[in-house]
C-alpha cells in the first residue's frame, strides 16, 4: 500500500474516533468545563493552607498549577483508557478489513495527541486567567506532555486490562498518587519520586510559569515520553486483534 493510502486510512480512523466522541455532547462539555472546575477548585481549596518553607509559590497558586496538571493528566488518561476499551471490537473488525496493527495504533495515538493538545490549551487558558505565566509556549508544551504521558498510560492500561471498572480503578489510583506526590505540597526528599510520570512535566510546567526555565526537565520529559511511547506501541500492537492475548 502507498504512503498516501496509509495516511488516508489513518485519517479515516482518527475521524471516526473524533466523531464517536463528539456524538456525546456531555463528554465534550466535560472536556471543556472540567479543567475550569479542577484548576479553580484546587486554587480555592489551597487558599486555607499554611505557607510552608519548601513551597516555591503561594499555596493558592500552587493549587492552581497542581490543578492544571491534574486536569490534563486525568482527562486524557481516562479518555485513552475508554478509547481503547470502546475500540476493541471496532479494531478487530478494521483489522479484518485490512488495517495493520501499526495503523490502528497510530490512529488511536493521533486521537489521544489531539485530545492532549486541546485539553492543554483549555487548561492553560483557564490558568492564565488568574496566574501570570512567564513562558506560555513552554507551559503549553509541559501541559501537553503531561496530558500525553497519561493518555499513553491510559492506552496501556486499556490494552492490558480492557475492562471499564478495573481499568478505571487502576487509573484513579495512579493519577491521584502521582499528582499529589509530584505536586510540591509535601517536602519529599526521596529520589524515587523522580520516576513518577508527572514529576518532570510538573517541574517543567512550574519553571515555565515562574520563568526559571528548567531545560533539563524538558529533556527528561521528552525521554520519558519516548520510552513510554515505545512500550505502549509494542504492547498495543502485540495485543490488538488477539482477544487480549500476546501474539504475532
Amino acid at each position: 500500500m502507498t504512503e498516501s493510502g496509509r495516511a488516508g486510512r489513518v485519517r479515516v480512523g482518527v475521524d471516526a474516533a473524533v466523531r464517536s466522541f463528539l456524538r456525546e455532547p456531555v463528554q465534550v462539555a466535560v472536556l471543556l468545563v472540567l479543567p475550569l472546575i479542577v484548576i479553580e477548585g484546587y486554587g480555592y481549596a489551597m487558599t486555607a493552607f499554611p505557607e510552608l518553607p519548601f513551597m516555591t509559590e503561594s499555596a493558592e497558586t500552587m493549587g492552581r498549577l497542581n490543578g492544571a496538571i491534574y486536569a490534563v493528566a486525568f482527562l486524557t488518561g481516562v479518555l485513552g483508557l475508554f478509547q481503547i476499551i470502546s475500540a476493541q471490537l471496532a479494531d478487530e473488525r478494521l483489522q479484518l478489513c485490512g488495517y495493520s496493527r501499526g495503523e490502528l495504533f497510530v490512529t488511536r495515538l493521533a486521537t489521544v495527541v489531539a485530545a492532549s493538545v486541546l485539553v492543554a490549551a483549555v487548561s492553560l487558558a483557564v490558568l492564565a486567567w488568574n496566574v501570570t505565566v512567564e513562558a506560555p509556549l513552554l507551559a503549553f508544551g509541559a501541559l501537553a506532555a503531561a496530558a500525553l504521558v497519561y493518555g499513553l498510560i491510559g492506552m496501556l492500561v486499556g490494552a492490558i486490562l480492557p475492562r471499564a471498572l478495573e481499568g478505571s480503578l487502576v487509573l484513579v489510583f495512579l493519577v491521584d498518587a502521582d499528582d499529589f506526590l509530584s505536586s510540591g505540597m509535601v517536602d519529599i526528599d526521596t529520589a524515587a519520586v523522580e520516576l513518577f510520570p508527572l514529576y518532570h512535566p510538573h517541574n517543567l510546567f512550574q519553571s515555565a510559569v515562574d520563568g526559571s526555565l528548567a531545560g533539563g526537565r524538558a529533556l527528561a520529559t521528552g525521554a520519558y515520553l519516548m520510552v513510554l511511547l515505545s512500550v505502549v506501541g509494542v504492547v498495543y500492537v502485540r495485543l490488538t486483534g488477539n482477544g487480549g492475548v500476546f501474539g504475532e
Binding site: 480555592y44 499554611p50 493549587g63 481516562v78 475508554f82 478495573e166 489510583f173 498518587a177 506526590l181 526521596t190
Partner: protein, 247 residues
C-alpha cells in the same frame, strides 16, 4: 421465597459476579496496598502541626498524617467507583430481577451489601499496610470512619451514575473524593473553608483524624456522618428505585 432469602440470593449472585473476575479482586487487594505503601515510603518523617478535633493542636509525622488521611480517601475512591458502576449496570441486570418478581427494595439492599463489603475490604487492606508504619490510636472508630467514607462515597457514586455517563462519572469520582478529603478536609489547615463542612468527606475525615491521633474521640462527627449517610442513602435509593423500576 422469603424476603431475606431473596436479598441473600441477590447478594450472593453479586459476589459470584465479582469472584468471576479475579483481576478485580486482585486489584481490590493490590491498589490499596500500593496507594498506602507508596505514600508511607516516599513521604518524609518530618513533623507538621495539625488540628485534632478531640485533642487540639498536635505535631505529627507527615507520613503518619497522610497515612491516616489515605485510608478514608481510598475507601471513598473504591466505594465511589463501585457505586458508579453499580448504577451503570442497574438499569440492565437489576431491572430484569424486578421483572422476575424482586421488589426494588430487595435489589437495593443486596447492592448496598456489596458496597459495604467493598468498603470493608478496602479499609482492611489499607489499614493492614498502614499498620506497618503507624497504628491509629482508636482502631475500631478509625475503621468505622473509613467504612462510612466508602459507603457515603459509594452512594454518591450511585447518584453520579444516574446523572452522568461512564466517562464523565469516572472523572467526577476520581476528582471529588481527592479534593474533598485531601485538600478541603486537610487537618494542617487552621480554619477550614466554609464549603468543606457541606461535603461528604467532612465528618468521616474528622472522625478518622480524631481516632487516628487521639484517645478522646468526639462523637459529634460520628452522628454527622450517619446523618450524611442517611440523606445520601435516601437520595441514592430513590435514584436506584427509578433506574430499576419496570416500565
Amino acid at each position: 421465597m422469603s424476603s431475606v432469602a431473596r436479598v441473600s440470593r441477590a447478594f450472593e449472585m453479586g459476589l459470584r459476579e465479582y469472584a468471576r473476575t479475579p483481576v478485580l479482586l486482585a486489584l481490590l487487594l493490590f491498589l490499596p496496598a500500593y496507594f498506602i505503601g507508596i505514600f508511607v515510603f516516599v513521604l518524609p518523617t518530618s513533623e507538621l502541626p495539625i488540628i485534632v478535633p478531640g485533642d487540639g493542636q498536635q505535631m505529627v509525622a507527615t507520613a503518619e498524617l497522610y497515612g491516616v488521611l489515605l485510608v478514608p480517601l481510598l475507601a471513598g475512591l473504591i466505594g465511589g467507583i463501585a457505586g458508579l458502576f453499580l448504577m451503570q449496570t442497574a438499569s440492565d441486570a437489576d431491572s430484569r430481577l424486578v421483572l422476575a418478581g424482586y421488589r426494588p427494595a430487595q435489589v437495593i439492599t443486596a447492592r448496598f451489601g456489596l458496597l459495604v463489603l467493598a468498603s470493608i475490604v478496602a479499609t482492611a487492606v489499607a489499614l493492614a499496610v498502614l499498620s506497618i508504619e503507624y497504628v491509629p490510636t482508636s482502631v475500631p472508630i478509625f475503621v468505622a470512619a473509613s467504612v462510612l467514607s466508602g459507603l457515603i462515597y459509594g452512594l454518591v457514586g450511585v447518584l453520579v451514575g444516574l446523572v452522568l455517563g461512564r466517562l464523565a462519572g469516572v472523572y467526577t469520582m476520581l476528582f471529588v473524593p481527592m479534593l474533598d478529603v485531601f485538600f478541603l478536609q486537610n487537618p494542617t489547615v487552621d480554619e477550614k473553608l466554609w464549603v468543606a463542612t457541606f461535603l461528604p468527606g467532612h465528618a468521616v475525615t474528622e472522625l478518622a483524624v480524631d481516632s487516628g491521633f487521639s484517645e478522646s474521640v468526639a462523637l459529634d462527627p460520628f452522628v454527622q456522618a450517619l446523618a450524611a449517610l442517611a440523606v445520601i442513602g435516601t437520595l441514592a435509593t430513590a435514584a436506584f428505585y427509578r433506574a430499576t423500576r419496570v416500565r
